[in-house]
Symmetry: C2
Subunit: 279 residues, 2 copies
């Protein structure tokens, strides 16, 4: 099968590497505006050829849009205008806004709204890896609006990537993504800023940084070009979760202020219930 | 050398396993009040024998106190009362309070205040591991108040554990620990509570949880028996950092409320500077 990958970064590049390795994609066309990334995508054999977007889509059986969510919104209508029997996926971290833009498009059925729930704090073709998606979940939204053959192709692709498929409407996806992904990035950015502020005074502080700190702060390395449009598109949900998170932190603060360590124990014991979910 | 390990959990147990493997400790006495943990520590050959605290300290050349920081405070004076030429370390996550309690003790010189900066979200002898400390930092406080031979022994032990030694006064340690360790636990507990609150309504949410969420929330599994006394002893510093962290989160909130994504980009780009520190 011929596959076009629009955006040869962490997600698109990883999908390309994996689909080629599993002999699903025999030709991969890349679309990449960044010249350095385009060169690296060719050097790493992530793609066979770099083409303009319209040429890549026309030649491919399957087009995967793996650019920041604001860029995906700008290109989705002309891409859908140009397809006939081909299939188009996006892989973005927000779903409502994009699904809404295309809802009345005559080729809506050729499109599959997907969100493979894997990533790292790194970006670009050099961050791409063959096996990142394995055993993770992919969300497919609005499956009823997708043609049967296009949905089957999505199931096949994500099966090859060894992902577990979950179906959800776009609004539910965006709420859940705010809780299990977007807020983690905000807290990590804010934690990095908290500590970097202090570090101006005390450079010795980071000699002590260990695994626990690294774990909570690693997402703070994430690329603003990817995350700002996500936050912007999912504003309402992220703001709700952020408000809830601030109020949870204030409960801890109040325990300190009142020396109420019994209630702090209750808060910690409740947090420990995450053990049942994250093993 | 004969070593007594008071508290055969994650830290004490890991030190015992490593010091035995490196042939530094040929006999290890364990002190453990929890019967299940005592049995597991024997079964895993973390310790050779379980003894009452006074017997273990009397028989050992080196005693390592690896119990929660509140329990360490309760036992430190009788232990120091009983030592002659032996050496005693603690390994707790706070240093000022303990150092203050013993500051005028005639055997103060036999004591080394240490904090090996490694741990996981798990506890107990089954969580102990041979090589956890490697390449991490250990902080030694108030080295000037420690006898020369006792300090040399600490350097030897942490050298065997392949840790990088940093010297600091106890107050500076506690401030830095609040920034690079204690606050990470608070944010993680609060994040878990934020998401668990939502999960009451929507159980599907966790099907989507991926690496990023797991990374920021894993510390929320940590044991309150260990962490509450740390927070309590380091109250002032943790409260300062928590206030700063809440105000950093409020900056993000304000950006959402005002749709000010330019300033949100500045906040994220600033957070990205953590790359220079955490690789």
């Amino acid at each position: 099968m011929k596959v076009a990958i629009i955006g040869t970064g962490l997600i698109g590049g990883s999908m390309a590497l994996s689909l080629r390795k599993k002999n699903f994609a025999n030709t991969i066309y890349g679309v990449e505006q960044n010249e350095v990334n385009a060169r690296r995508a060719l050097e790493r054999k992530i793609v066979d050829e770099i083409l303009p977007v319209q040429d890549a889509v026309a030649k491919a059986d399957l087009t995967i849009i793996s650019v920041p969510v604001n860029a995906a919104e700008k290109m989705i209508l002309p891409i859908l205008d140009s397809v006939e029997n081909q299939v188009v996926f996006d892989v973005g971290s927000t779903k409502s806004s994009l699904c809404n833009i295309i809802k009345n498009h005559p080729n809506r059925g050729r499109f599959v709204a997907t969100h493979p729930m894997w990533g790292t704090e790194y970006s670009g073709p050099d961050a791409a890896t063959e096996s990142g998606f394995e055993d993770k979940t992919v969300v497919i939204c609005e499956k009823g609006k997708t043609d049967k053959d296009a949905l089957e192709l999505a199931k096949k692709v994500y099966g090859i990537l060894k992902m577990k498929i979950v179906y959800m409407n776009a609004e539910a996806h965006d709420i859940h993504a705010a809780y299990v992904s977007h807020i983690s990035h905000i807290t990590s950015f804010a934690l990095a800023n908290t500590v970097l502020e202090k570090e101006k005074e005390e450079s010795a502080i980071f000699e002590m940084a260990s695994g626990g700190f690294e774990s909570t702060v690693r997402l703070a390395k994430s690329n603003p070009d990817m995350w700002l449009p996500i936050f912007q598109q999912n504003r309402e949900n992220v703001l709700d979760v952020l408000n809830e998170h601030i109020s949870q932190l204030k409960k801890f603060r109040s325990c300190f202020e009142k020396d109420n360590y019994d209630y702090m124990r209750t808060l910690i014991e409740n947090a420990n219930k995450i053990k049942k979910i994250i093993h």
